[in-house]
């Protein structure tokens, strides 16, 4: 498929225009976070030396600089503290309504997680509503493996959705 105005980019993948993370192990030391998401688990990193749980996950503890980290589960459910709804003028890559919320997952450091609410029409959400993790596929990452050709690496991302009452 040609890129309009730039015919040399035919069939090439410009990662600098990719709105999703480069989740594959080859490009991301926090690849395990995305593997955990594929299992339906929201996780983050915990320092095995000082005990600090960080959000988002990282490769070095920001408190004691230990590299001795492990993944720990975060709650999959939380409550909406405040939310916004964008109905018109939603940016490329997102569908209307684009709903953002500050969500309390009940434990530090996830008492005020800024995320997106999906599977929800405009005008129905209320402050205090319960929401749950929603994992969805995003386009696979094309990685050039030389003689092996281009390998498509599956990707997912997450948001939250209302808990059905």
């Amino acid at each position: 498929m040609a890129v309009l105005g730039i015919p040399i980019l035919e069939n090439l993948y410009p990662s600098t225009m990719d709105m999703w993370p480069l989740e594959a192990k080859e490009f991301n030391r926090n690849w395990q976070f995305y593997e955990n998401l594929k299992q339906g688990k929201l996780t983050t990193t915990k320092c095995k030396d000082c005990g600090l749980v960080s959000w988002p996950p990282r490769v070095i503890c920001p408190e004691c600089y230990s590299e001795n980290l492990e993944y720990t589960d975060l709650p999959n459910k939380g409550k909406i503290i405040v939310f916004s709804e964008e109905v018109r003028g939603v940016p490329l890559g997102f569908e209307s309504p684009l709903i953002h919320a500050v969500i309390d997952l009940g434990v530090a450091p996830a008492r005020r997680v800024l995320s997106r609410i999906v599977n929800c029409p405009a005008g129905v959400l209320k402050r205090g509503d319960e929401v749950q993790l929603a994992v969805f596929p995003v386009p696979a990452l094309p990685i050039d493996k030389g003689k092996l050709g281009t390998v498509m690496s599956e990707r997912v991302f997450f948001a939250f959705e209302p808990v059905k009452k």
Binding site: S84, E86, R88, V102
Partner: protein
């Protein structure tokens, strides 16, 4: 003898939707700057700082400083570099130039900033905004364009402090009316409270005039020492008395306040800059604070101590930010009406402060001798404050 940094001159090109390349805008702004001080020539400049964050994405140009140096005809020998702090790039350039001239590393530094954001297809700048927040953790949630984030901020201010939509609209009205006669502003029209209250919705409670526009533009100023400045100008000297730049969080992760309307990092930046400048909030006669959204200005006047925390809505809604009020704010029109080419904005603020403190501003604040400029950058990830004054810190 101690060297004290001053802002000597400045100018900006016409801001708005420009039929021009990024490097064209820098050339126009450099000309406007030298027009402001005919005794100074490009050959007198020994340092160049270029503030631009979108050069890499929207103009396909990194390592921008040598390109700008060549186009504007300066030949730096002390420093030639680019800074990228999004909305605070210009102010950061001024802070760095102050350090360079006071330490003797440089004598006369041109601080320039600019962005060309309107690309041949408009989607691209909006899409590229995914790079201006934490790409993997916030961009993926559609936080690239800031109105949703500032909608949440405005709602929490209303929840915790009772501010109103009408008070937000009062900020837009004041800033548009300041810019109505500003020949380089993007929006040159008066605005009534009724028009602001009935404007199309963006992300509730924010409507059209609560949000600054996307802007092409550039600005240039000259930072040097007081002794050097006297050789080029008889105008009153305008010193950069104190500065601070505070970063405690990355966009949404680990926001330092109790909620999104509690800007602890802003307060900290203000307090540190006041201390460095040996002034207090009551000394500030005029301010240019970062009104990327009307709610921002409401919170900033609180965090900088122009009024009590939580009373920013009342402060802005009762004309305290207008001429004759307690602290006139964004007297050239601010981001809301001048527009906001990220790297240029801090320089625009510095130029307005230069004019205010020299008594030659379009909306002159009587007796202006100390002023404050401020930038919020990213989605509330960093705060930058500069205090300008007619006297050096003693």
């Amino acid at each position: 003898m101690a060297r004290h940094a001053v802002i000597l001159a400045g100018g900006q090109c016409k801001w708005g939707v420009r039929e021009a390349h990024l490097v064209d805008l820098f050339q126009e702004a450099a000309k406007a700057c030298f027009d402001d001080i005919p005794t100074l020539k490009p050959k007198d400049v020994d340092g160049l700082i270029v503030a631009s964050s979108y050069a890499g994405r929207c103009s396909f140009q990194v390592n921008t400083a040598p390109v700008i140096a060549e186009r504007v005809g300066v030949k730096p020998t002390s420093i030639c570099t680019r800074v990228d702090v999004l909305c605070a790039g210009g102010s950061t350039g001024i802070i760095l130039a102050k350090g360079l001239v006071e330490s003797g590393v440089a004598d006369i530094v041109m601080v320039s900033g600019g962005e060309k954001l309107y690309t041949p297809q408009k989607w691209e700048v909006f899409y590229s905004e995914l790079a201006s927040v934490d790409h993997d953790w916030d961009g993926t949630n559609g936080m690239g364009l800031p109105p949703p984030f500032f909608s949440l901020t405005a709602q929490e201010h209303m929840m915790h402090y009772g501010s109103t939509k009408e008070q937000l609209a009062a900020v837009s009205v004041a800033n548009y009316n300041y810019a109505a006669t500003n020949p380089v502003a993007q929006m040159q029209k008066t605005l009534t409270l009724e028009e602001a209250m009935n404007a199309p919705s963006v992300v509730p409670p924010l409507t059209l005039y609560d949000c600054c526009p996307i802007t092409d533009g550039a600005a240039v100023c000259i930072i040097t020492t007081d002794e050097i400045a006297k050789k080029f100008s008889d105008r009153p000297l305008v010193y950069i008395r104190g500065t601070a730049q505070v970063c405690l969080n990355s966009v949404s992760a680990n926001f330092p306040g109790a909620h999104l309307a509690d800007w602890k990092h802003t307060k900290m930046a203000g307090e540190k800059a006041y201390k460095a400048a040996k002034v207090s909030p009551g000394d500030i006669k005029v301010a240019q604070t970062h009104d990327c959204f009307s709610i921002s200005e409401v919170i900033e006047v609180e965090e900088f101590g122009f009024c009590k925390k939580g009373e920013g809505g009342e402060f802005c809604g009762s004309k305290q930010i207008e001429l004759g009020g307690k602290v006139p704010v964004n007297t050239d029109g601010g981001l809301l009406a001048c527009g906001h080419p990220f790297g240029a904005t801090g320089i625009r603020q510095g130029i307005e402060m230069l004019k205010q403190l020299q008594g030659r501003a379009r909306h002159q604040v009587n007796g202006a001798d100390i002023g404050l400029t401020h930038n919020l950058s990213g989605a509330n990830a960093e705060h930058t404050v500069l205090i300008y004054g007619r006297e050096p810190v003693k």
